[in-house]
């Protein structure tokens, strides 16, 4: 299936509803705060219309490139000031392990170069073993703990109490078959809690898959507004559901 061609220029997006004049129908007795909260979130979860963006162009024959482009667009979209603040723990751990292993490799190499072989053996053994351990740790961390996670974000809002929301997003690609193009599967896990994580206010899970052909045109340009609209829709759905 060839990717659909898009007309040039951004497609018009609906104007975001203002949160003061909430036109949503009155809901049955739930927390007033969750109603206001929901509409203000809906306002934020829509891509900003007419914003000047850099064109994102990737090789649309490479599923890995397309996935990375979508991941980056997702991170940019959700990291906006009023939305989530990205938690960089996974990145920090991988960077720390990587830098440590590089420094150890460099140090061992330098030492082995300066000191004659027989003398240097114990220290070089230590360096090599440390390096192997660090590399194995890095690989295991990336495979087991980080897994498919693309984005981990936190959001603190203040109604009558401090509400903390935490969202974890995983993204996988589904391979193409003779009858369907490759797809991008988003998985979301959402937790809302208060008073420092002790009171659980709401939880939600969602997952949705779309084919890459919906977002990339035949040149490989990513339609960011369309993608962000979809992401906003899925995130809104997981944040709404199952509020206590």
């Amino acid at each position: 299936m060839a990717p659909r061609s898009r007309k040039s220029g951004p497609s018009p997006s609906p104007a975001p509803p203002t949160s003061d004049t909430d036109a949503a129908p009155p809901l049955s007795p739930k927390d007033d705060s969750s109603v206001a909260h929901r509409s203000s979130i809906d306002a934020l979860l829509v891509p900003v219309a007419g914003e000047e963006r850099e064109e994102v162009k990737v090789n649309n024959a490479s599923v890995a490139d397309m996935k990375h482009a979508c991941d980056d667009a997702l991170k940019r979209f959700l990291s906006r000031p009023d939305l989530f603040k990205q938690i960089h723990t996974h990145t920090d751990v991988r960077l720390a392990l990587g830098w440590l292993s590089v420094l150890i490799a460099g140090g061992t190499g330098l030492y082995g170069w300066r000191v004659p072989f027989e003398q240097s053996k114990p220290a070089v053994w230590a360096g090599v073993i440390l390096y192997v351990i660090l590399t194995i740790t890095q690989t295991l961390y990336a495979y087991f703990i980080e897994g498919d996670t693309v984005f981990v974000g936190r959001r603190k809002t203040f109604d009558k109490r401090i509400v903390t929301e935490r969202i974890t997003i995983t993204a996988k690609t589904t391979p193409s078959t003779p009858s369907s193009p490759p797809g991008y599967a988003l998985g979301l896990a959402y937790v809302r809690s208060a008073s420092g994580g002790k009171t659980l206010l709401g939880k939600g899970r969602a997952s949705e898959e779309r084919k890459f052909t919906e977002f990339f045109d035949e040149r490989g340009v990513l339609d960011q507004e369309r993608f962000e609209r979809w992401v906003g829709q899925v995130v809104g759905r997981v944040m709404d559901g199952k509020a206590e």
């Binding site: 990375h68 490799a105 061992t108 190499g109 082995g112 072989f117 027989e118 053996k121 070089v124 053994w125 360096g127 090599v128 390096y131 192997v132």
Partner: protein
């Protein structure tokens, strides 16, 4: 780090070397890659092909062992009952040379185990020309390093 680990496992500072001269023809030609190990408790036999470095010379030489003798040391008034590997004295000669290596030893009469880099276990023909080319044309070396650096930068993890 793989190189360093390999050096530790084979107990030699340079587990892979390139033949530069023709003194071991027809066994090894210039440009062959040699794989070395240096087991510390094995004795070297006549006929083994060794790579050694004479103190005072930069480049290691790859020649065949012609004679082995044992340095019988008389420490503490006792002599070792069985010949020890680390106390060997070696004389080498290149297959394609007419005379043995005494002239190359820079004053030594015998090579000791500590001068030996390793024993040849296997070889690959012609592959060493890449290293010879990079040494003769340093621009190639820098081009390769630059290329690798570029690849590391533009790749994603």
């Amino acid at each position: 780090m793989i190189w360093k680990g390999l050096g530790l496992i084979t107990n030699t500072e340079s587990p892979i070397v390139v033949v530069l001269s023709g003194s071991m023809e027809p066994a090894f030609y210039r440009g062959d890659l040699l794989f070395l190990t240096n087991p510390s408790n094995q004795r070297y036999q006549t006929g083994d092909i060794t790579v050694y470095k004479v103190p005072g010379a930069d480049i290691p030489i790859v020649h065949r062992v012609l004679e082995t003798h044992d340095l019988v040391s008389d420490k503490r008034g006792v002599v070792a009952a069985a010949p020890l590997a680390q106390q060997q004295l070696l004389l080498t000669k290149g297959d394609n040379n007419h005379i043995d290596d005494i002239e190359l030893y820079q004053g030594l009469e015998w090579l000791e185990r500590k001068h030996i880099v390793g024993k040849v276990r296997g070889f690959l023909p012609y592959v060493g020309y890449v290293t010879i080319a990079m040494n003769d044309f340093p621009q190639l070396k820098y081009a390769l390093l630059g290329g690798l650096g570029l690849l590391a930068l533009i790749q994603r993890e």
